[in-house]
């Protein structure tokens, strides 16, 4: 795991590479193309094409056994779920390929002027947020294993059933994600369909919506309970079981929730395929099908594998969907088992919970390692100079494909959300929604009477904004350090930042419970049960999200600016204020909004850590549904979906001020 992570660390300096190359090679060569100059010199594009026709191996494949393709969308990671450390933060395809010594020759590596306190400070902060909770968890897990309880727990039927359910649901979810994500990825990256930005934006929406809201919406859409189906007269007969309360239901929804991750991975890979390749193949007489099979599919496959791995690992860690769909049907997955144990039996089960969390962490790591293995020796890195990406003209099929995409969106997004709205408007359970029965009681109750709503909004907004703004205080110096420094220590720091993000939220939450259950030593202050323990866990979980945009801005900046300031005698803080901050301000804004967006919808971490007065929006929705007030839960969900859409729209509107590749739904 560690060695794999180490390899991905240098993903961060991807743009650095571009700058390095432009410093070493004629400027024109690196501009616009993402491939390395050495490949161009060695293979040439026709050589590559010939190999592409073979469909089997491409030049260079196998030589760089370590590399997996760059996949975008760390940010795009579904809220509080892990994604592969193989994923770069970049929306652009920027494969890592510099050997360490090449980093060493980078002009930035020698950029000095870094004060001595910077490294220890960043290191301490990152260690406290990332390493300490995990060390505590590992320690508790080990303790549970050595006293013999662990083996017994792992052999319990409940544990084995949960493990089996988790693996089945995550695998099924991965399959659904692959189908949906690939469909949209190929269509949006390679064809001439209309309305790409909107389609992309809408397809990304399910990922930004909290998973428990997705689950609620689908429950309201299907089965005998659906107010929508009742209104349409299509509701199944009495006693027909809700089809979603099943393993396949969980898998289906995990698939919908995580399809955008596959979509992003596939799209980014395909968008980098230059038009020349496809054009040359067509000129040589290849049919579109042949081009698809022999060029596009192999070139897109690393993205597929990476997307599949992220979807799988995210499915393993998902809590909201199996909680809403599985618990009523007594189908437990590992995250819901942990939640039930902790919620019903309390701290007496810490040892068991630590072991179960460790089990999830191990499966997640195994999923990522498997992906690593599958990509070994399969480094298809296209090159090309045209700068235009490949595109198929669909001709008379365009309308058909467009219809298909809109149809899928209507089914996975519009219909569930409509059902959610419908169920927030019925006066009582089991009553069809008509003009006579429509009732705004749930909204009145949620908006005007329930203090819970206000508390939840206040807590979520506070936690999200404090995490978003507070993390900048860490990520700006950390980004500066990582952008300027190379070597083992910087790599280690980057790993530390990544790990909590790659782990399922439930694992992180358990780690923080263990860490803060007892009052803090020395000060005797108890964080458990306060809003601060949630904030600390958010800091740890979203550090990588916050760092990403800041880091890309730092790397895009020409270091000569700062060097000039340094030569003129400006200290680090002065340089930060006058040179760095103005340049990275838009990126910092993007960082703030992205963390805010993800943190505001968070459920898994806060579900284990909330207490009196510290309910978050995610917890409020989950508990309202749990207490049988699903009309209130629906109404609150509708408000949250509106908030998410508005935030995403705000990001979209301000997209031109942001560094490239920060917004996951944009190209």
């Amino acid at each position: 795991m560690l060695s794999k992570l180490r390899k991905n660390v240098s993903r961060f300096p991807v743009q650095n590479r571009r700058q390095t190359e432009s410093g070493q090679a004629p400027a024109g060569k690196s501009a616009g193309a993402c491939s390395g100059t050495d490949e161009i010199a060695r293979g040439g594009r026709f050589g590559r094409l010939r190999l592409a026709f073979g469909g089997e191996t491409l030049e260079g494949a196998g030589r760089r056994g370590e590399a997996s393709p760059a996949v975008p969308g760390r940010i795009a990671k579904e809220l509080n779920h892990p994604s592969s450390p193989d994923v770069t933060e970049d929306g652009l395809r920027k494969p890592r390929r510099l050997a360490p010594q090449e980093h060493g020759s980078s002009p930035q590596a020698t950029a000095g002027g870094e004060p001595g306190w910077l490294l220890p400070l960043v290191f301490c902060l990152v260690f406290l947020l990332s390493a300490l909770p995990l060390i505590r968890l590992g320690w508790a897990g080990l303790g549970g294993l050595t006293d013999g309880e662990g083996a017994k727990l792992l052999l319990e039927p409940a544990t084995i059933a949960a493990l089996r359910n988790t693996l089945l649901a995550a695998t099924g979810g991965m399959a659904v994600s692959l189908v949906l994500g690939t469909l949209f990825g190929f269509a949006l990256a390679l064809t001439d369909i209309r309305g790409k930005l909107f389609l992309s934006f809408a397809f990304m929406l399910p990922m930004m919506i909290p998973p428990q809201v997705t689950a609620l919406a689908w429950v309201e859409m299907s089965g005998p309970s659906s107010p929508l189906l009742k209104t349409l007269g299509l509701a199944p007969p009495l006693g027909r079981p809700q089809p979603l309360y099943s393993l396949s239901g969980i898998a289906l929804l995990l698939g919908v929730q995580h399809a955008p991750l596959v979509f992003l991975a596939v799209k980014a890979g395909l968008a980098a395929i230059p038009r020349d390749g496809v054009e040359a193949a067509r000129l040589a007489g290849a049919s579109p099908l042949r081009v698809f099979r022999d060029i596009l599919l192999p070139l897109g496959s690393p993205g597929l594998v990476a997307g599949a791995a992220i979807a799988f690992v995210s499915g393993i860690g998902n809590f909201g969907i199996p909680a809403i769909l599985g618990i009523p049907a007594s189908i437990e997955t590992l995250p819901t088992l942990i939640y039930s144990r902790l919620a019903s039996f309390g701290t007496s089960t810490f040892g068991e919970i630590a072991i179960l969390s460790t089990l999830i962490a191990v499966i997640s790591a195994a999923g990522l390692l498997l992906q690593q293995r599958m990509l070994q020796g399969r480094d298809y890195r296209p090159l090309g100079l045209s700068g235009a990406s490949a595109a198929f003209s669909l001709g008379r099929f365009r309308l058909l494909v467009e219809g298909l995409l809109w149809g899928v969106l209507a089914l996975v997004l519009a219909a569930p959300l409509l059902a959610l709205v419908a169920s927030s408007l019925v006066p009582a359970y089991g009553v069809p929604l008509t003009l006579e029965t429509v009732s705004f009681r749930a909204y009145g109750e949620i908006l005007c009477r329930q203090s819970l709503t206000l508390t939840a909004f206040r807590n979520s907004l506070f936690l999200a904004s404090a995490a978003a703004v507070g993390l900048l205080v860490i990520t700006v110096p950390a980004g500066y350090l990582l952008a300027r420094r190379k070597g083992a220590l910087a790599n280690f720091l980057a790993i530390l930042i990544e790990v909590p993000y790659a782990l399922p939220g439930i694992v992180l939450a358990v780690a923080f419970v263990l860490l803060f259950a007892a009052p803090l030593p020395l000060v005797g202050l108890s964080l458990y049960g306060t809003v601060w323990i949630i904030l600390a866990a958010y800091f740890s979980s979203f550090l990588a999200v916050s760092l990403k945009p800041v880091m890309s801005a730092m790397l895009q900046m020409d270091p000569s600016l700062e060097e000039a300031a340094r030569l003129a005698g400006a200290g680090l803080l002065r340089r930060m204020r006058d040179v760095l901050l103005p340049v990275i301000a838009p990126a910092a804004g993007a960082s703030v909004i992205l963390v805010f967006l993800i943190a505001a919808n968070e459920l898994t971490v806060s579900a284990l850590l909330w207490s009196a007065g510290t309910q978050t929006l995610g917890v409020a929705i989950f508990n309202l549904d749990d207490s049988g007030s699903s009309d209130l839960a629906s109404a609150l969900s509708v408000l949250v979906v509106l908030m998410v859409t508005a935030l995403m729209a705000a990001l979209e509107i301000s997209a031109r001020y942001m560094p490239e590749g920060v917004l996951p739904w944009r190209n």
């Binding site: 049907a329 819970l452 804004g589 007065g613």
Partner: protein, 326 residues
């Protein structure tokens, strides 16, 4: 961008300030549904200006787990507990976590409804009976009907692992001659499910996912009044009952307000509120809510509280064994 950042910063500061300002309020842990908890708190705040109540709602077992974790961590947040059953309260009392308080209102109550030492007071009577969807083919009249072939795969009930009322209910039924654990095994064999709390059962039956369920009376009767297609039956064998007791924690930071809260719940005004919300009031002389039969026609099954405390853990295990984990 600047405005966004400053707006976010303002929200952050507002959040900080308001979090700090909550320190003096009375904290209530309750298992009442959100709407009832809010209505209770609103009425109490109106009657006691100056006291601000912060409340948390979860199923009784979850609330207890949270509370016990906080007690272990040395810093229980709650001042007042308002949860489903006296069995749990008795256990807390025996562990020394409750503050005795002699409420002046107690005189109007049957002595069986409160602890002699004043550790806890029953606030209402909540019976568990049968709910059925009006579209269902069979109209059940007793518990045994749910084990009949007509109800195969159509029955659901709350899990004692989530709901305090459900635990007492299971303990009551299994102690009855002719029912016992065999009855629950027959239900499980008939495809009955047991998961979550009473709210989930109400929803499943009212929306037609299931046809029959075991559920607390007020939920079913109230939902019927709103137009949902359900009926509630007091089964022939009798109903189990929990009394939603209130208690003050020994560690209460705001004991005066907590005592006021107890008094308010037990007062005529508080009991009328309970009746208005659809609960059978515990206090003598307060009328039952609409939709209920006369008080004396409801047959309440007895429960041995001491045995219930002693066997709770074992009964939970047996129940999980019969219905699978959750």
């Amino acid at each position: 961008m600047k405005t966004i950042i400053s707006a976010v910063a303002a929200a952050a500061i507002a959040g900080l300030l308001s979090t700090a300002a909550q320190a003096e309020s009375l904290i209530l842990y309750t298992s009442q549904p959100n709407e009832d908890a809010q209505a209770t708190v609103d009425a109490f705040e109106a009657a006691n200006p100056g006291v601000e109540v912060e409340w948390v709602r979860e199923g009784t077992t979850k609330i207890m787990a949270k509370l016990m974790a906080e007690i272990e961590a040395g810093n229980p947040a709650a001042d007042v507990l308002l949860i489903a059953d006296t069995v749990t309260m008795q256990r807390l009392k025996e562990a020394g976590h409750l503050m005795p308080y002699k409420s002046p209102e107690a005189a109007a109550y049957d002595a069986a409804l409160f602890d002699a030492d004043g550790a806890y007071y029953s606030t209402k009577m909540i019976t568990t009976g049968i709910i059925y969807n009006t579209a269902a083919a069979m109209k059940p009249t007793g518990w045994q009907d749910l084990a009949k072939p007509e109800a195969k795969g159509l029955v659901t009930m709350p899990s004692p692992l989530t709901s305090g009322a459900a635990l007492i209910h299971a303990q009551t039924l299994t102690a009855i001659d002719g029912l016992g654990w065999d009855y629950y095994k027959a239900l499980a064999g008939n495809g009955a499910t047991a998961a979550g709390g009473n709210g989930g059962v109400l929803k499943a039956v009212a929306t037609g996912e299931k046809a029959y369920g075991m559920v607390v009376d007020f939920m079913a009767i109230r939902e019927k009044a709103r137009g949902a297609p359900v009926e509630f039956v007091f089964p022939a064998e009798g109903v189990s009952v929990v009394t939603e007791p209130v208690a003050i924690l020994k560690t209460a930071k705001n004991a005066d307000a907590a005592k006021k809260f107890v008094d308010f719940l037990l007062s005529v005004e508080g009991q009328k509120l309970a009746s208005k919300m659809g609960y059978i009031p515990a206090r003598d002389g307060v009328a039952l809510p609409q939709g209920f039969p006369a008080r004396e026609t409801i047959k309440v099954l007895p429960v041995d509280a001491a045995a219930a405390v002693k066997n709770a853990e074992a009964d939970l295990k047996t129940f999980s064994g019969v219905f699978g984990t959750n």
